[in-house]
C-alpha cells in the first residue's frame, strides 16, 4: 500500500516525526508514504519543512512545499527539492495565503509542470481553498496531475463530483472524506481517480482503511486506490523501496 498524503512536522495541535510515521505505517501494513510538511515548515520555513520530508528515509517520499509569494526564492527551493528527490508539489492556499488562480501562483505551477510533478493542494474551507479554484488551475495545466487534498472536506463535499468531472487530470485524496463521497467518485469517474491517503496524524490509517473496506470494491479497484494510482502519479516503482 502507498499512502498518498501524510504530514510531518508540528502544526497547532498536530505533530508527527518520521520515526512515528514509520511505526504507524508498520502497524497498518503500509509500505510507503508520500509526506508533505505542515506548520511553519510548510507556511514560511520551507527549507526546514522540505528537508524534514525529503530526508525521512527510503519509505517516506517527500512533496516539496513553497509559498508562491516568495517568488524567485520559491522556485530556487523547488529546484533544490528536485535534486533531493521530491516526488511532487504540495500547496495549502488557505495557510499560504493565495488564490490558486492568481498570477503569483502561476510560476510555481509552471515549475511543477516542467518537473513532471503532480500537485497536491489542500482543499476545504471556502475562499482560498475552494475546490473549484483548484479545478480552474487543473484545466489551465491539463498535462499536470492535480490532487484535491482532503477532498473539499468538510463543507465543499458537494462540489467534489462536478469538479472531478470538469478536469480529467484532477484526482481525489481520500484521506479525510467519508465513504459515500469516495464511492460516488469511484462509481461516476472510476477508481483511477482516487488515492488512498491517511492524513496522519490528524486521521488514522485504521479509520481510512476501514472506510475503504466498507466500500466492498472489486480487487482491481481496491488495488488501484491503495497502490497503483499513487505509484503512477508519483512515479514510484513497485510499492516497496
Amino acid at each position: 500500500m502507498i499512502d498518498a498524503h501524510a504530514m510531518l512536522g508540528d502544526e497547532t495541535y498536530l505533530r508527527l516525526d518520521a520515526a512515528d510515521l514509520l511505526r504507524r505505517m508498520d502497524a497498518a501494513g503500509v509500505d510507503l508514504a508520500v509526506a508533505r510538511p505542515m506548520g511553519a515548515g510548510m507556511i514560511v520555513d520551507h527549507r526546514a519543512g522540505n528537508d524534514l520530508v525529503l530526508k525521512a528515509g527510503p519509505r517516506i517520499r517527500g512533496l516539496a512545499s513553497v509559498n508562491p509569494w516568495w517568488g524567485a526564492k520559491a522556485l530556487d527551493e523547488l529546484a533544490r527539492c528536485r535534486d533531493l528527490g521530491a516526488v511532487g508539489l504540495f500547496l495549502d492556499p488557505a495557510r499560504q495565503g493565495f488564490f490558486p488562480t492568481e498570477p503569483v501562483a502561476t510560476p510555481v505551477f509552471e515549475r511543477a509542470a516542467e518537473y513532471g510533478w503532480p500537485v497536491l493542494m489542500k482543499t476545504g474551507a471556502y475562499i482560498y481553498a475552494d475546490i473549484l479554484a483548484l479545478a480552474e488551475v487543473a484545466r489551465a495545466f491539463p498535462r499536470t496531475t492535480f490532487i484535491a487534498g482532503f477532498g473539499g472536506y468538510a463543507d465543499m463535499w458537494f462540489e467534489l463530483p462536478m469538479a472531478i468531472r470538469s478536469a480529467p487530470n484532477l484526482l481525489l485524496d481520500a484521506s479525510m472524506i467519508w465513504g459515500a463521497g469516495i464511492r460516488e467518485i469511484v462509481d461516476r469517474h472510476g477508481p483511477e481517480r482516487v488515492l488512498f491517503g491517511s492524513a496522519e496524524p490528524r486521521n488514522r490509517y485504521k479509520v481510512v482503511l476501514k472506510t475503504i473496506d466498507r466500500l466492498e470494491l472489486d480487487e482491481a479497484a481496491r488495488r488501484a486506490i491503495l497502490h497503483d494510482n499513487a505509484a503512477r502519479v508519483f512515479k514510484i516503482e513497485g510499492g516497496r523501496p
Partner: protein, 252 residues
C-alpha cells in the same frame, strides 16, 4: 460501552433524495451498539418548520426508548418562532433544540432579539441548543460560540466542534465559555484528542450526523472516536455520559 449519539437526522427526504424510514436507523444503531440517538429534521431547515416538528415527533414516537427528537424553529419568523418553540417543548419527547443557520439562511446577529428570546426559553426549560458550526458565512464557529455569551444560562453546542477548519478555535472557545459545549461530529481522531485535552472531556459529546440511509457514516464516526486514544473514563464521557447529563430531563 453505552453510546448516545447526539447528532443525527431523521426525515423522509433531503431535497430530492428519498431517505428510508426510521426502522433503518434503528437497525444501524443496533448493529453498532448505539442505545439512543438525538435526531433532527432535514427538510424543516428549509420550510414549514411546525409541520416538520410534528412529523419528527410522530416518527420518534414509534421508538420512544431509542430516538430523541430536537425541535427546530425558524427565527426569521420572529415571535412566532418563540411560540412554536414553546408549543413543541410542551411535548416531553423534545429534549433539545437544533438550528442550522447555514441552511436556514440567517446569522444570529441579524436576529438578536428573537435568538435571545429563544435562548432564554432554552435556559428556563434546561434544554440544550445545538447549532451547525464550521461553515461561513452564517455558521462560523465564532458566530455560534458568541451566542453562548448572550444568555449564559443556556447550554449552547457547537454542532461539529469546529468541523474541518475551526477545531483549534472550537477547543479554546469551549474551554473558555462555561456554557459552550462541542458535539464531536465529523472531525478526526487527532481533532478529538485536542478537543478533550483543551476543553475537557466533560464538555464534548459524540455525534454521527448519519441518517437512516447512511449507516456507513455512523460506523466511520465511531471509528474516529475509538481511535482518538482517549482514556476509558473520557471515552465514556464523550460517548454517552455528557449527553445524558445535558439533555433536557426526560418527562419535563
Amino acid at each position: 460501552m453505552k453510546i448516545l449519539d447526539f447528532h443525527a437526522h431523521l426525515d423522509d427526504r433531503w431535497l430530492h433524495k428519498p431517505i428510508p424510514d426510521a426502522s433503518h436507523m434503528i437497525a444501524a444503531m443496533d448493529r453498532f451498539g448505539v442505545g439512543q440517538t438525538c435526531v433532527y429534521t432535514m427538510m424543516g431547515f428549509y420550510a414549514d418548520t411546525p409541520r416538520n416538528n410534528d412529523l419528527l415527533l410522530e416518527r420518534c414516537r414509534r421508538y420512544p426508548d431509542r430516538l430523541i427528537p430536537f425541535v427546530t424553529v425558524d427565527p426569521k419568523e420572529g415571535p412566532a418562532a418563540v411560540d412554536e418553540l414553546e408549543r413543541c417543548l410542551e411535548f416531553p419527547e423534545f429534549r433539545g433544540i437544533k438550528f442550522h443557520p447555514w441552511l436556514q439562511a440567517f446569522a444570529s446577529s441579524m436576529l438578536e432579539e428573537t435568538m435571545t428570546a429563544i435562548l432564554k426559553v432554552a435556559a428556563r426549560t434546561d434544554t440544550p441548543v445545538l447549532l451547525h458550526d464550521g461553515t461561513p458565512p452564517y455558521s462560523t464557529t465564532f458566530q455560534v460560540a458568541d451566542l453562548a455569551r448572550w444568555v449564559p444560562g443556556a447550554k449552547v453546542f457547537l454542532g461539529h466542534a469546529g468541523s474541518a477548519d475551526y477545531v483549534d478555535p472550537a477547543a479554546r472557545l469551549i474551554r473558555d465559555i462555561p456554557n459552550l459545549y462541542g458535539c464531536y461530529c465529523g472531525s478526526r481522531p487527532g481533532d478529538l484528542a485536542h478537543l478533550v485535552e483543551t476543553a475537557g472531556a466533560d464538555k464534548i459529546t459524540f455525534g454521527s450526523d448519519f441518517d437512516p440511509g447512511s449507516w456507513e457514516l455512523l460506523a466511520e464516526r465511531l471509528d474516529n472516536t475509538i481511535e482518538a486514544g482517549l482514556s476509558p473514563e473520557d471515552l465514556e464521557a464523550v460517548l454517552w455520559r455528557n449527553a445524558e447529563r445535558i439533555l433536557r430531563p426526560s418527562g419535563s
